[in-house]
Assembly symmetry: C2
Homo-oligomer: 178 residues x 2
DNA sequence: GAAGTCATGTAATTGGTTACATGATTGA
DNA sequence: TCAATCATGTAACCAATTACATGACTTC
C-alpha cells in the first residue's frame, strides 16, 4: 500500500510511458536510469506481482510466442505515482568507494592513489561518451514531452561527469607535484 | 575475516589516523565523510566488536569518567586496511531520488518539477558553503600528509556541487522557456 | 534542574542483491 | 547447432538502517 519501496515508483513511472514486461523494465533501468538508479530482477518481479495484487498495474499474458507478461499502469497506479512525485525527494545519495580509498590515501601512498584516479577517470570517460550519444539523439527527437525530462537527466550526468574529469586532472597535478 | 562490509574499512581507516570511540567514529563519518559515505551506530558498534574479536582493533576502557571505550588499530588491522586499499574500487554509486522524479516529470508537470529543482538547489548551495569552509581550513593546515587527501575529496565535492548548480540554472531555463 | 550532548548497545525490519533454476526464441 | 538473448521467477542472503533502551556528564 503506502509502501516505501522505490522500485514500485520506478516501475509505475516506466509503465506510465508504455506497457512493458518485467524484462523490459530491467532494460530501461539499466540503460535510461543507469546513471542515477539501479534495480535487479529479484526486486522487479515480486514488485510487479504486489502492484498487480494492489490494482496499481494490470497484466496481459501473451498466449502465443514466448508467453511474456505485459504490464500496464491503471488509474490507481497513476494516482499512486503522482502522490509520490509531489512529495519532496527524501534521499539523494552518493556513495563512492573511490573517494573513500582516496580519503584514506596516506596509508596506500601516492602511486596507488594515482592508479585509482586513473581507473576512475577511464570509467567516467567511457560513460560520458555514452551520455553524450544519448543527448545527441534526444536533442534530435524533442517531439514527446517526456524526452525533455529525459534529456535534463542526461545533461545532469554530462555536466557532473565533466566536472569529475576536471577534478581528475587537478588531483593528478596535486599528487604529482611532489 | 575477509569480510566485505565496507563499514569495517571505514573504521580501520579512521582508527589508522587516531584512536577513537564508536561515538567519535560516527561523528567523523557524519562530518568528514558525509559527502560520499554514511554509517549508523547500528553498524558501527557491532563492527567494532567483530574487529576486536578478529584482532584488527584493540579496546581500552576508560575506568574513570563516562567509561568510554577507545579503540585503536593493530598491525593486523592495518594490514587488512592496506589489502583493501590496493584493490580497485568496486562500486561508485549515485542514487538521486531528485533525478528519478525529474525523469518521470511529465506526469508531475513543469511547476512541480521546478519545485524539486529549487529544493535541490538550496540543499546543494548550503552544502557547498560547508565544503568551501572545509577547503579554506584545510588549505591553511597542510602540515599532515593526511590533509592532502582529505582536501582532494573536499575539492571533488566542491567541483561537482558547482556543476550541479550550473545544471540547475540550465534546467530552470529550459523549463521556463515554454 | 532541565535540555542537550556524550556514549553504548540491541532487536526488528528493510529494501534490496546474488545466485540459481528453467526454458523459449533468435541469429550466426 | 550452438551461443546469445529473451523471459520469468524464487530462495538465501546481506549490509545495512531505524527505533528503542539506557544512563552519565555538561551547560545554561
Amino acid at each position: 500500500m503506502a509502501n516505501e519501496k522505490k522500485i514500485n515508483y520506478v516501475i509505475l513511472g516506466l509503465l506510465n510511458h508504455e506497457p512493458l514486461t518485467g524484462y523490459e523494465i530491467k532494460k530501461r533501468i539499466d540503460h535510461s536510469l543507469k546513471f542515477f538508479w539501479s534495480g535487479s530482477f529479484g526486486s522487479i518481479y515480486p514488485a510487479l506481482e504486489a502492484l498487480e495484487a494492489d490494482g496499481c498495474v494490470e497484466k496481459e499474458e501473451e498466449s502465443s510466442g514466448r508467453g511474456k507478461i505485459i504490464y500496464s499502469i491503471t488509474e490507481k497506479g497513476r494516482a499512486l505515482l503522482r502522490e509520490w512525485l509531489v512529495k519532496p525527494a527524501e534521499k539523494d545519495e552518493l556513495r563512492y568507494e573511490t573517494l573513500l580509498k582516496l580519503f584514506f590515501g596516506r596509508e596506500l601512498g601516492r602511486e596507488g592513489i594515482l592508479d585509482h584516479i586513473q581507473k576512475f577517470e577511464e570509467k567516467i570517460r567511457n560513460e560520458l561518451l555514452i551520455l553524450e550519444g544519448y543527448a545527441a539523439n534526444l536533442e534530435k527527437v524533442q517531439d514527446e514531452e517526456e524526452h525533455k525530462y529525459y534529456l535534463l537527466t542526461v545533461r545532469f550526468g554530462i555536466e557532473t561527469y565533466r566536472a569529475y574529469l576536471a577534478w581528475c586532472e587537478e588531483a593528478k597535478a596535486v599528487l604529482q607535484k611532489d
